[in-house]
């Protein structure tokens, strides 16, 4: 630990715009207000005296902000000398936070990005990724570096947990309008994380196929219609949108499914009997499910089913092209 002094500071001495060592992101927690109001500041913030005489916050930015709002000055702080290198201060900030809480994805991104300005990527990966609960890899490091560049509305959602970092990674390469369009959809309707990832990919690919941007895909009339149908439960609308996008992305498979459904209806299978095609109609393994409640019922259904394989309508179902 470098030499520090203790001193009482005035808030006017703090350079509130200097965020070079700050990795904290998110709103001030109400309980911090409550705690400081009730028992005062228990942990002393750490700052660094800059060449211009102002103070740079190293650790305790939230505590300082709360004290400022509560007008608790002068305030006892620890002051580092200006001779201390920035990366040493930044490292203190990261380890201080790591020691007592789990960082949100934006904070992880800030920590990694800021350290990467002072160290080789390989050193950042080795020293910080595991302590940040991240798999040490250059690909993941680069993904996190890009997160920090996203718009505040995405960062806020990430920090608060409304948006998962996997989905944010998928949104990162998109244009801002496209990102916003998808983000709003995810804010509006309940999708799982994996479905959100799937939707980003589908929307991009549909756009490429149709020669339009992802935002335009989200804005297609049918999608707008589903979103606007607010008499339906949100979960139902989310499922409808996913189904609709799947149909746009996989028109042949969708047509085949629809044709299959119609042909099975035409077969007039007995009640309790269900014909199940292979997943995606891939491979030769079809299933016929039969439920029954008595031996007579089973016998009747089996009599019906023995003739099924010879029926032209059934044979037609098994063929791909008509």
């Amino acid at each position: 630990m470098p030499t520090t002094e203790f001193g009482s500071i005035q808030f006017a001495e703090v350079d509130w715009n200097d965020a070079v060592c700050l990795i904290t992101y998110g709103p001030l927690p109400d309980k911090l207000f409550l705690s400081i109001k009730a028992v005062g500041l228990l942990q002393i913030p750490l700052l660094q005296r800059k060449e211009n005489g102002l103070l740079r916050i190293i650790c305790g930015s939230r505590r300082l902000a709360v004290c400022r709002e509560l007008g608790l000055q002068p305030l006892l702080c620890q002051i580092l000398p200006d001779s201390l290198p920035l990366h040493t201060c930044l490292r203190m900030a990261i380890y201080d936070n790591l020691a007592h809480r789990r960082l949100n994805p934006v904070e992880k991104s800030l920590a990694l990005t800021k350290m990467a300005d002072h160290m080789d990527k390989s050193e950042v990966i080795e020293e910080f990724m595991s302590p940040l609960d991240l798999e040490p890899s250059v690909v993941l490091l680069e993904r996190y570096e890009k997160l920090a560049q996203l718009e505040p509305f995405v960062l806020d959602a990430l920090a608060s947990g409304r948006l998962n970092e996997r989905v944010a990674f998928a949104l990162t390469p998109l244009e801002q309008t496209d990102r916003l369009a998808l983000f709003q959809l995810f804010e509006e309707l309940p999708f799982s994380v994996s479905v959100e990832e799937e939707l980003v990919e589908m929307v991009v690919e549909i756009g490429r196929r149709q020669g339009i941007g992802p935002a335009e895909v989200i804005n297609l009339r049918e999608i707008r219609k589903v979103r606007a149908a607010d008499t339906k439960p949100a979960r139902q609308r989310a499922q409808d949108i996913r189904r609709h996008l799947q149909a746009l992305r996989s028109p042949r498979l969708t047509a085949r499914k629809e044709r299959f459904a119609k042909e099975v209806r035409d077969l007039k299978l007995p009640a309790g009997v269900r014909l199940v095609p292979p997943p995606h109609f891939e491979g030769p393994r079809w299933n016929l499910e039969c439920t029954f409640e008595s031996g007579d019922e089973l016998a009747a259904r089996l009599r019906h089913l023995t003739k099924l394989a010879d029926r032209r309508k059934f044979q037609r179902i098994m063929k791909s092209l008509c």
């Binding site: 250059v138 490429r208 996989s250 997943p279 995606h280 109609f281 891939e282 030769p284 791909s320």
Partner: protein, 355 residues
């Protein structure tokens, strides 16, 4: 396509090998780094370094088929890995993140393993190819491997060598005594796709001209429509390829023609997106196949195979056409038969293999 690495990175244990000496003689002014054992050093990996290492694994292996789709019983002779032709769909991008070309220098081990392998099953027909993890002829002007391989296979009563390439580097083949035991093969695609998806390869015309020359030198040929790629005018595109093929070579000397639509491991998708952002091959409709690889929806595959096989049979009805890694139901629907009815695909191709 004159390949000239910026640097050679060679493991000392293979320093005295003939292949290394050949390459050093051919690239006298290229700097060489000698290492005991090549480490995973990402900084050395820009694709412009030629690595020569001691290969610790098996040089000859069966082609990695799966039980879900009909496999042809091909065998792979692994002489090196990676390729710089930059085909957008290439699986090597996922298999080998290191872009450097890597050759295996301990060829004495390769020859020993190959001989033992052929002797271990003398009654079996061995169809062996070197084009699985690299292009068979990509570095041939430098390595001159065909000068050793072609005569070796010429002396094997039960084996053929298939050299698969997208290049025109066939010059060394002219004077070799092949005795019909080497088949020279090209993968084919419409010119527009070659330009957009196989940008650093030879053009269709150049490939067919190289094939014509090989045929003139008595080699039998093979062609692989693999990967077949869907694009808006694919029917006309592939018809033109068949037309050009029919004008270039005599069908009587074609050992086989394979058809295989694009398929890829899901992990390749983001790599293609990153390495080839302009490629359109991922925009078609894919489903996960029984082997976990992404494939075109079956109806489309059946349509493509049916279309291509009709075109090819219209040209020459006796062509041996097979599907690469497809299930029996797709065979029946597109080619009209199931290979199991004819003794199995492996036997069909074995029957075509030897001169």
């Amino acid at each position: 396509m004159n390949y000239r690495p910026e640097r050679l990175l060679i493991e000392k244990p293979v320093a005295e090998n003939r292949l290394v000496q050949r390459i050093l003689a051919a690239l006298q002014d290229v700097p060489v780094d000698w290492v005991d054992r090549l480490k995973d050093d990402p900084t050395s990996r820009n694709g412009k370094v030629l690595e020569i290492v001691k290969f610790q694994g098996r040089f000859i292996k069966p082609c990695p088929g799966t039980r879900f789709y009909t496999c042809c019983g091909y065998q792979i002779l692994n002489l090196g890995v990676q390729c710089f032709l930059g085909c957008t769909y290439c699986i090597l991008q996922a298999y080998f993140p290191n872009p450097n070309l890597r050759l295996f220098g301990n060829l004495e081990d390769m020859w020993q393993q190959l001989e033992e392998h052929l002797q271990s099953s003398p009654r079996r027909v061995h169809r062996i190819g070197t084009g699985e993890f690299t292009d068979s002829l990509l570095l041939d002007p430098l390595t001159r491997m065909t000068e050793d391989l072609v005569p070796f296979f010429a002396a094997q009563p039960n084996a053929v060598l298939e050299l698969k390439t997208k290049t025109t580097q066939v010059d060394l083949l002219e004077s070799l005594d092949h005795r019909g035991h080497t088949i020279v093969a090209w993968s084919l695609n419409p010119s527009s796709l070659i330009a957009s998806e196989e940008a650093a390869t030879a053009t269709l015309e150049e490939r067919l001209e190289a094939a014509r020359r090989c045929q003139e030198w008595g080699y039998r040929l093979a062609f692989h429509f693999d990967p077949l790629l869907v694009y808006p005018d694919w029917q006309n595109g592939y018809s033109e390829v068949v037309d050009q093929l029919s004008s270039a070579v005599d069908p009587g000397d074609i050992a086989w023609i394979s058809l295989g639509t694009l398929r890829f491991m899901p992990s390749l998708k983001p790599i293609i997106r990153q390495n080839h952002p302009r490629s359109t091959i991922l925009e078609e409709e894919f489903i996960p196949g029984l082997d976990g690889k992404m494939r075109y929806f079956r109806d489309l595959r059946v349509e493509m195979y049916g279309y291509l096989s009709r075109m090819l049979r219209n040209w020459h009805k006796d062509l041996c056409i097979y599907l690469c890694m497809e299930s029996n139901d797709i065979w029946r629907e597109s080619l009209g038969f199931d290979p199991a009815e004819c003794g199995g695909l492996s036997d069909i191709l074995d029957g075509q293999a030897l001169p």
